[in-house]
Amino acid sequence: MLRLPRFEFRVAGSASEAVAILAGEGPGTRLVAGGTDLWPNMKRRHQSARTVVSLMSIPELQGIVGNGGGEGELRIGATTCLADVAASATVRERYPALARAVDAISSPPLRNMGTLGGNLCLDTRCTYYNQTEEWRRSIDYCMKEAGSVCWVAPSSPRCWAHSASDSAPMLAALGGRVKLVSAAGERVLPVAELFANDGIDYLEKAADELLTEVLLPPESDSRHSKSSFWKLRRRGSIDFAVLSVAAWVRTDAAGVVEEARIYLGAVASAPLAATSAAAALLGEPLGEESIAEAARRARKAATPMDNTDFQVQWRGRMVELYTAAALREIAGLDPGVRAPRHLTVLSS
């Protein structure tokens, strides 16, 4: 059996206690929520910690609160488990694509343990990295941990491990924000700005910052905005995305696209803003042609690497098809590809 290394385990009773511990203990301290990412990583020795601070006994980090009834901003506490997010009536009604994205994360037991905050802070992934210590020793490690070469792109100076969170591209597309708290104070960042396109330093969050909540803008439930989420993976459960497409489109009363955001997951080290793709949709009703153009542009923007499942060239092609599918779904057109079994029907 793979076993955890020894470390000191502390349970914080409040957010301020958690950040105080982080500030006091310094580097070598990690936070844990559901542990579905951290524990396997520590067992495989690619993440380590002297002290681990659990966030699961902090009441203020849990739960979903709608400010101002059905209209206002929605706050989701960082340690709300994924199953609760996906099952929340408010989320399903106002952000159905988010419910779909969260419902497509991993498997039911992991959604019961895993949290939304943990999902956003999830480590980047790579098949050369998510392996045991012994395996990594046999390839002489890699740049992300203990080695000097990136085996995916040996002449590259950076790590290309991919962003694996399904909620991140969706929350970014919806214009969500996160609140970060540290001993020094607090700040609120757009979800899109939480990430950096670097496999190693993938978070803009400082090590001593605690993510306390996710805020969803009230306008996303306006009658003229719509969103969609498509995820590609090998199996109908358990698997991480090899590609996810999160799209959000707002039209005027006549149906002309005023604003659009498309974020791609698993094809870069951060949720990838396909800005030029989104721009292709502006100024006209969402239709066959603009969607096709946006999909082509999305494919160009994506840089899938050979560090996850499926043949890499094929994944590149799927970026176009899945981007089109997500947008076509928003437009009420046939998606053009068969919907995978793991995608729930969008309510509303």
Partner: protein, 830 residues
């Protein structure tokens, strides 16, 4: 040994498995659940390089780690072992060199598992790297450096060619000849339970090994050999396995090393493998390249076939010699093939050793054959179901390669799935994207010959009965989840007319139970079942004799049912089973019986004829419906209809479970499973590693990914099996991969001639087709290999006698035979 009495009490009805309650309530004690006083823990330091000479092993750092109790290296276990006596090329720990990433080099024992793990990690080894071989092609191109010194030269482990009958004549009689090259990727068993072993030293230089193994008997023999102890001082207990599928049917390094460590330290030692280590133990499906060339008459009749197979064997022999022969031996069991040539080779590569996985060596050529037939049917304009029905092997046939068939339920299987799936209405007529595919298979019900020479029984069972009315059954068979225990108990309960609850089983313990070869080759129900039937029948006779004397009736008239023994003519006249046993105990003294089984001598007598023969063969046919998305190449399997010729169900609930399990495993292989390897850029690194040795990344279908299965059980009792039963553990896997591939073709009109079928392959074939090229994705060609020294064996129809014309060994035997029984030595059977 068909059931003599008409009415059966238990057999054929679904009953709860005897180990079911313990399993679902967590009471079953798997090997990893065992603990003993003073038990310590062992970990293996495995090679991190794929091929290298060991220059030096540094234990200095590891020795200083807390809790460390001792180390073993290859020097401590100089005696080699191997499941087949002709290829014992494994050691408990690497001696002199390592051959794959994962090859065990040093064993460390410590007070806790954490300490053992830390110490194993602190071991340092200096290697002198050697060039690596990663595929059959590379092995053919690079005879040096050799991975092993034995084999058929260079890096070839085995090369063999057998010609059954006048092949040229066969092809001459053909109106059309088709050729295909196909590839079947390697995959692994993925049993839920990771291997674990506990060794306990006993007084007087004895040792007991508790292990998750399918083959306690062979582990017992290997331990005695390697530990250089008399076999009588070694005891092996096979704990219930949390799944085996062939992955626990080889002697594993850790079993040998744990026993040695326990003897050296004088205290119990446990090892529990990680999932990654299980991927390194492997012994799974061989990657196999195949070439088929088959001649047909215009009417679809088979005239001759030439099959070539190339197996990527991994770093050790394992069952390789047998796997190589299984890669061709069963091609003849489904359809009557008058002439047949089979060339095969197995290469050594620097990867974990391949071996037997469910279907051992046969799913690959079966995939090749059934896809090849589908293509031929198209070309000939014959419905694929009809093409198969037209060529069905008749019951009792001795095939061109000298397999003695018994009952053949294949025709009924095909009819069942054709009917169930609406084949005649729907095949070839579904909308673009939807398709149906059909395929068949045959499998052995136990091996005709033991793995080592000898005429002793293959299966043995002992019964102990006494006045309590309880019956204890002792049998060496290992329960690996398939229901071995339930079959054993049911057969005894049926013969003696008692309830399952009155039977106590003592199984898989080489000290306490008679020799049983183990849970492999689908031999349990037929071989163990026959032995159990034999033993129970003898007990029944003893009781019947005593009771008949007491009641003064003919013992033939006695019925054993409902836990009573009574007169068939006058049911009131009788007594409880316990009272009947008491009478027998009074009459004969302490009661015990034995039963044993040895399969009939097979008709083939050429070198290599030991692989393929079986008391009988099971048959399966499947129709699969798929939905392919032509835009992405992704496909879903929508439904599986499968019919299995089971002879007779001992327990239909278990039979259906095995059928469905085989279907899902077969779907995994065709849809996604892949034991894939990765070489790093050679200018930067010599690494050659398993691509993803983890449960998350080695893709095996979840329940979301598999369709409903409709199962038809074809019951036609076979004289070779107990109550007419045949195997079901492996055969139903065989038709699944080819049926799925054939369904993809029906759906979108392109062929993927390899397994697993990835979406990019379908997409690529579709694009090629759209560009006017052949709509096919698959291997280009079979490597140019010379297969010299063909064994030439005349077929039964040609008047052969089962020997080869040019096999020195069989000629000698034939000479001796002819001298003994002059007149009819060469008479043509059938």
């Amino acid at each position: 040994m068909t059931e003599p009495r008409a009415a059966l009490n238990l057999i054929g009805k679904p009953f709860r498995r005897v180990d079911g309650r313990a399993k679902v309530t967590g009471q079953t004690r798997f090997a990893d659940d065992l603990t003993f006083p003073r038990m310590c823990f062992m970990r293996l330091h495995r090679s991190t390089v794929p091929h290298a000479r060991i220059v030096e092993i540094h234990l200095e750092k590891a020795e200083k780690m807390p809790g460390v109790l001792g180390f073993l290296t290859g020097e401590d276990l100089p005696v080699s072992f191997g499941i087949l006596p002709m290829s014992r090329d494994e050691h408990g720990l690497a001696v002199g060199k390592v051959r794959y990433v994962g090859d065990p080099v040093v064993a460390v024992a410590a007070l806790t598992e954490e300490q053992a793990e830390a110490a194993a990690r602190a071991v340092e080894i200096e290697y002198e790297p050697l060039a690596t071989i990663s595929s059959v092609e590379e092995a053919l191109a690079n005879p040096e450096p050799r991975i092993h010194e034995h084999g058929s030269g260079g890096n070839l482990h085995r090369k063999k060619s057998m010609i059954f009958g006048d092949l040229e004549q066969g092809f001459e009689e053909a109106d059309v000849i088709f050729e295909d090259t196909l590839f079947y990727g390697g995959n692994t068993h993925l049993a839920m339970e990771q291997h674990a072993s506990v060794a306990v030293p006993e007084d007087d230089e004895r040792v007991t090994l508790y292990s998750s193994t399918q083959i306690p008997h062979y582990v017992h023999r290997a331990l005695a050999r390697v530990l250089e102890l008399p076999a009588s001082r070694v005891r092996v207990v096979a704990c219930p396995n949390g799944g085996g599928f062939g992955g626990k049917s080889d002697i594993m390094n850790h079993e040998i090393v744990t026993a040695k460590m326990a003897l050296v330290l004088g205290r119990p030692v446990k090892i529990s493998l990680t999932r990654e280590e299980v991927f390194y133990c492997h012994r799974g499906r061989h990657p196999m390249l195949m070439h088929l060339r088959t001649g047909f008459g215009k009417d679809g009749s088979l005239k001759a076939q030439h099959l070539k197979t190339a197996l990527d064997g991994g770093a050790y022999s394992s069952y390789g010699v047998a796997s190589t022969l299984y890669a061709g031996a069963l091609q003849t069991a489904t359809y009557e093939l008058p002439r047949y040539r089979f060339d095969t080779l197995r290469a050594f590569t620097n990867k974990p050793p391949c071996g037997p996985k469910r279907g051992h060596g046969t799913p690959q050529p079966r995939f090749g054959y059934e896809v090849h037939l589908d293509k031929a049917a198209h070309a000939l304009g014959i419905d694929p179901a009809d093409l198969r029905l037209r060529n069905l092997a008749p019951a009792g046939l001795i095939t061109a390669n000298w397999l003695q068939l018994s009952s053949v339920g294949l025709g009924r299987c095909i009819e069942a799935v054709v009917e169930g799936s609406g084949w005649r209405r729907r095949y070839g007529k579904l909308p673009h994207g939807r398709g149906l595919g059909l395929a068949c298979g045959a499998y052995i019900c136990g091996v005709g010959l033991p793995l080592y020479r000898g005429e002793m029984p293959h299966s043995g069972v002992q019964l102990k009965l006494d006045r309590s009315g309880g019956v204890a059954v002792f049998c060496g068979q290992a329960e690996i989840g398939q229901g071995s225990d339930s079959v054993l108990a049911a057969i005894v309960a049926e013969v003696l007319g008692i309830e399952l609850a009155d039977i106590r089983l003592v199984v898989a313990d080489t000290d306490l139970t008679p020799v049983e070869f183990g849970s492999y080759a689908s031999r349990v129900t037929v071989m163990m079942g026959n032995a159990a039937y034999d033993g129970a029948q003898r007990a029944r006779e003893l009781i019947a004799t005593a009771v008949a004397e007491r009641f003064e009736v003919d013992s033939e008239r006695l019925v054993f049912a409902e836990s009573r023994v009574f007169d068939a003519e006058d049911p009131e006249k009788g007594l409880s089973f316990a009272a009947a046993v008491a009478i027998a105990e009074t009459r004969f003294g302490t009661l015990g019986t034995t039963g044993s089984y040895r399969p009939p001598t097979p008709p083939g007598r050429f070198q290599g004829s030991g692989v393929g023969p079986s008391p009988t063969y099971s048959y399966s046919a499947a129709v699969i419906e798929v939905e392919v998305d032509p835009a992405t190449g992704l496909f879903d399997v929508e439904h599986v209809w499968i019919a299995h010729d089971i002879g007779r169900c001992i327990n239909p609930a278990l039979v259906v479970g095995q059928v469905e399990g085989s279907v899902y495993m077969g779907l995994g292989e065709v849809m996604m499973e892949e034991q894939a390897f990765r070489r790093l850029p050679p200018r930067l690194s010599g690494a050659l590693v398993h691509k993803t040795p983890s449960l998350l990344e080695y893709k095996s279908p979840t329940f979301r990914d598999v369709p409903p299965v409709t199962t038809y059980l074809i019951e036609e009792p076979d004289p070779a099996g107990p109550f007419g039963a045949k195997e079901v553990g492996q055969g139903p896997l065989l038709p699944i991969p080819p049926a799925a591939a054939n369904a993809v073709f029906d759906a979108v009109g392109v062929r993927v001639d390899q397994v697993p079928i990835h979406p990019h392959m379908i997409l690529r074939a579709l694009e090629d087709k759209a560009r006017g090229k052949e709509g096919r994705f698959g291997p280009a060609a079979f490597p140019d290999v010379d297969f010299p020294r063909n064994l030439i064996v005349p077929t039964p129809a040609e008047g052969g006698d089962g020997t080869a014309l040019n096999d020195p060994r069989s000629q000698k035997q034939a000479g001796r035979q002819a001298a003994k029984e002059k007149p009819s030595a060469a008479s043509a059977p059938v």
